[in-house]
Symmetry: C2
Subunit: 339 residues, 2 copies
Amino acid sequence: MNKVSTLEDIAREAGVSASTVSRVLNGSKRVADAKRALVLAAIARHDYRPNLVARGLVRGRSMTIGVLMQDIGSPFFASMVSGIERGLDHAAYRPMFASTHWRSEHQEDEARSLHLLLERRVDGVIVLASSIPDAELRAVAAQLPLVVVARSVPGLETQCLAIDNVEGAYRATRYLIGLGHTRIAHLAGTPGHPDAADRLTGYRRALADAGLPENPNLIVAGDFLESSGLRCVEQLLANGEQFSAVFAANDQMAYGAMLGLYNHGYRIPADVSVVGFDDQFLSAYTLPPLTTVRQPSFEMGEVAAQAMLRLLNNEAPALPQIPVDLIIRKSAVLLRQSA
Amino acid sequence: MNKVSTLEDIAREAGVSASTVSRVLNGSKRVADAKRALVLAAIARHDYRPNLVARGLVRGRSMTIGVLMQDIGSPFFASMVSGIERGLDHAAYRPMFASTHWRSEHQEDEARSLHLLLERRVDGVIVLASSIPDAELRAVAAQLPLVVVARSVPGLETQCLAIDNVEGAYRATRYLIGLGHTRIAHLAGTPGHPDAADRLTGYRRALADAGLPENPNLIVAGDFLESSGLRCVEQLLANGEQFSAVFAANDQMAYGAMLGLYNHGYRIPADVSVVGFDDQFLSAYTLPPLTTVRQPSFEMGEVAAQAMLRLLNNEAPALPQIPVDLIIRKSAVLLRQSA
DNA sequence: TTCGAAGAGGAAAGCGCTGTCAATATCCCG
DNA sequence: CGGGATATTGACAGCGCTTTCCTCTTCGAA
């Protein structure tokens, strides 16, 4: 492991001062062609790369932006993260991720993850969902550029990028109603989670607007994971409650639900229609392809990154409104008259 | 945006020298209880957090380890990344990711991503697959701790963690043969990709060992993505070639294949059996659940991280052998006699 | 009471880089 | 050919923190 060379080494090699090397590195000031050539030659000879840590220290900016989320392994976050990388690709900024999965029980630990990022002096923070309290987020926003995705924080409206969950759920449910379904089960997300609450609200509202009764037995709570979708359906079936359609709070739960239905011999969509929420990439490949409310996670990540760049540039974040779209595929169909 | 406080501020506040503050921060030397208390109080009052960038500069270690991969958005990588985070969770190290998706055409750009990491002076690098040339990887290994996952680099055997792709594909194919299938199509991975080549080899070897003829028309190449699985199946069907089973080079292609089959009215597994490779998390939730060769991505990531920690500690990486396992679910069954 | 050892804490020298400031060199015009 | 303007360059002071190195106490033993 031979020592990696420093700017000082290059300066000595090229017979110039450190300042000059720095100047050719940054193009911050004119340097005579002859000297520049000498420096460049030395750099090439040593395969020299400036130490960004040192540069960060003196410039006071680390050129990295922190991204806080619950689980980078979940497809929804992975996709957003991918979008963030994309959005940052041409900037000199790099994302640094911190997930809190392993210890998500304790909200305190989410704060720890945030501090991990802050200690590394990230220049900005992008928060994906997360259960950190609004107040703490506002405190962060007072310190450095902050963009919040898939969540909306009172007082930070201009820096939040979220879709209208109520509206999305409303559309999904209304679609099912339009197909003739009246006994529509809802697999809700984690109790207490804002998205879960909003989507439940949209479901209820659609029912109410259609003059349909709300059956509490048809609403069962999961936790946004596939396994819970499966569990919820088992429970519904065990209760003997009749239903011809299922609206799941997210696609992952919808996958689990479809598996549960399949295991019990129900055909989708012939026997039961299923609609999800998120439009994960894989939802176009399920059997049958899933009808779902689109939450463009990749694009949201990309847009969030661009907004962050703008914020870092002291411009307005200019976060757009995200339209909610129902993607109609094959998992929901007209209710059979015979049913 | 009020200024964030520095160690100097704390020292002044507490009426001690910077050295003392540093000492209580690191516990590197005894400090009188009275002074320690003063310092701690000042720290608490200011909510002071040491600047890890500065510390990294003086200590010569950034406490971050770089992770290079093709696409953090792909479920396979996302899962490994998740494992890496887990493996690093209790260490003071943080991963810093760099994907090369957007420009994967040019191998040159992968090198650029690697440099992005090196410029930030990561203390070690974990490479996930990637198409960076072996030689370059060896050069990196000479500079700093390196662990390579899901790929094996000659000369770096002890630092590589990979499953036996040939064996895995062999098992999958033999399983299908054992089920009575003789016309088994193979949806190969990206031409030129080592994994793709190895899996194809395993498939061929199993056929040969069973005395089955190899039909070139039954082998069609994709690119490891869902869309290509779909495309491959379309092509197979268009060719009018007979087959009762499909072995896909990875689960994603298997998903696409299943959709293609479904679209054409074939039932799985009744009409066509399908086997994948990887055992992605979602494969347990497809309809029917997918029989596949397990590549424990999460665990591989975790193990790689631990090996990296050991390397950083000047110990032997001690990378274990990963057993290959065929996970039997519902997507492949005995060939119907009638067929 | 005196001396040495050990304990505590401060001063200062960097880590690798940038950016200011002043010095030197170069150049134009009258 | 002189004067001032302009272009280049080097010296140097940090960025925030760690880590010798060294001084100053304090305390026990002789």
